[in-house]
């Protein structure tokens, strides 16, 4: 059994563009999901019932449906109901943001809830408003406490970008598939793809781990 890695070398630019798209899609999705999920998490933790009930439904729905289904529906079905055309990258971003925000909201909600009530009472006793207590006392501690879970959500985000291949987003998985079928050398191409993805993902989880170890004491009350 001989290996031929030349198709990879010949198409390195094509594959490199795929990596760039993967990174771009990951960043867009992660940032969007964090902002949306953070807002939803806080809304569920502190909001009135008419807000928390529909949000709970949204979060539980995203936990129940595979991300592949959300991607496919967003790209193929959503334009039909909304009457617009959605380019690949935008559809993938929208789907990933909506899906992952649900998980972010869950950890924000539980993180905020894990800070001891005594901390809130201490803040109020100092004369702070509820909003100030949340912003200055509860949220910083909650963020530190959920860092490990957040790191794993970041990791999942990057992995989920690979699924966007099914709606023809030209990210790295898609480019690898193209080269693999063109060159008839799937073994070499996919094995290399595995190594590249590993190199992308491993530092993210390790990095979050390291940051957490530095700041963990700030979240212990």
């Amino acid at each position: 059994m001989e290996f031929d890695f030349s198709p990879l070398l010949m198409n390195w630019r094509f594959l490199g563009n795929g990596v760039i798209v993967t990174i771009l899609l990951s960043i867009v999705s992660a940032v969007g999901a964090t902002m949306l999920g953070g807002t939803i998490g806080l809304a569920r933790a502190y909001g009135p019932r008419w807000v928390t009930v529909p949000l709970a439904f949204y979060v539980d729905t995203m936990r129940a449906i595979p991300v592949l289904v959300v991607l496919i529906w967003t790209y193929f079905a959503f334009p039909l109901v909304a009457g617009i055309t959605l380019p690949h990258f935008a559809a993938a971003s929208l789907a990933l943001i909506l899906h992952i925000a649900a998980y972010v909201s869950e950890i924000v909600r539980s993180g905020v809830g894990s800070v001891r009530p005594g901390q809130t009472r201490a803040g109020l006793a100092l004369g702070m408003s509820k909003a100030q207590v949340v912003r200055k006392i509860v949220l910083p501690q909650a963020i530190v406490r959920v860092l490990p879970a957040y790191g794993s959500i970041l990791s999942i985000t990057i992995k989920d970008t690979a699924i966007a291949t099914v709606i023809a987003v030209p990210e790295f998985m898609h480019q690898s598939e193209t080269i693999a079928s063109q060159s008839l050398r799937p073994m070499e191409v996919f094995t290399t793809a595995m190594v590249i993805y590993f190199l992308l993902l491993f530092p993210v989880t390790r990095g979050v781990d390291r940051i957490y170890r530095r700041v963990a004491h700030l979240g212990r009350s």
Binding site: A64, L68, I72, L80, I163, S176, M194, Y197
Partner: protein, 220 residues
């Protein structure tokens, strides 16, 4: 634009069979991945450098890869490794999913075992128990409470991830729904039906996991 939602009813038996495949795949994968994960975790704790390195490598490698890539990779590597065997796509999907989930389970077991205070292990060792006796009589019974909800959560994720094997033409719910869509062009109807069916199956599972964490989960 007119929608014909009755096509969902027309194809209900195909969709049901897709659901059945999804369910079978989930059960079969977990049946392999629980002992698999336990084995990998024990390898990782082994005193032999080679075995513990392999356990760590396996866990870290498969936890840091997209599952869809693993599926493609297994799809192409299995026929090369065993050229005379004819692998049905279901088996290929099963192997790929089992590899990934075993790695996650190994990590779950490791976290559960590590959560038990060192003093408990020492007290058991001070009585003269062997490492294996310490695990079986003292550590694992206590780690169980932390491990079970995490396994339930992994189960739900696995159930959703089975949708990925549709890319190698395993006739699960996703593949079936997409095939029907290709035949009758009822895009919105079929895709919505697919989402709703997953929702109906996945929502109670997610709620069950929540219940489990509340009931027997350990809070710090």
């Amino acid at each position: 634009m007119n929608y014909d939602w009755s096509v969902i009813w027309d194809f209900r038996s195909e969709l049901a069979s897709g659901v059945w495949t999804t369910i079978q795949l989930t059960f079969a994968t977990m049946a392999v991945a629980i002992p698999g994960g336990l084995t990998i975790m024990l390898l990782r704790q082994s005193r032999f450098r080679l075995l513990s390195w392999f356990g760590t490598f396996f866990t870290e490698f498969f936890r840091n890869l997209p599952l869809i890539l693993v599926i493609y990779w297994v799809f192409y590597i299995l026929p090369t490794l065993m050229p005379n065997v004819d692998f049905p796509p279901f088996a290929t999907g099963l192997v790929a999913l089992a590899l990934g989930v075993s790695a996650y389970n190994a990590e779950t077991f490791r976290a559960g075992v590590n959560s038990i205070r060192k003093g408990q292990t020492e007290a058991a060792m001070a009585l003269g128990m062997s490492r294996w006796q310490v695990m079986r009589k003292v550590v694992l019974p206590q780690a169980f409470r932390r491990i079970l909800p995490m396994l339930a959560s992994t189960w739900v994720s696995l159930f959703k991830d089975t949708s990925l094997v549709s890319v190698i033409a395993v006739a699960d719910l996703t593949y079936t729904a997409l095939e029907i869509r290709a035949k009758n062009y009822r895009i919105l109807e079929m895709l919505t039906a697919m989402a709703v069916i997953y929702w109906c199956l996945g929502y109670p599972q997610a709620k069950f996991v929540d219940w489990m964490y509340r009931k027997i989960g350990v809070t710090e």
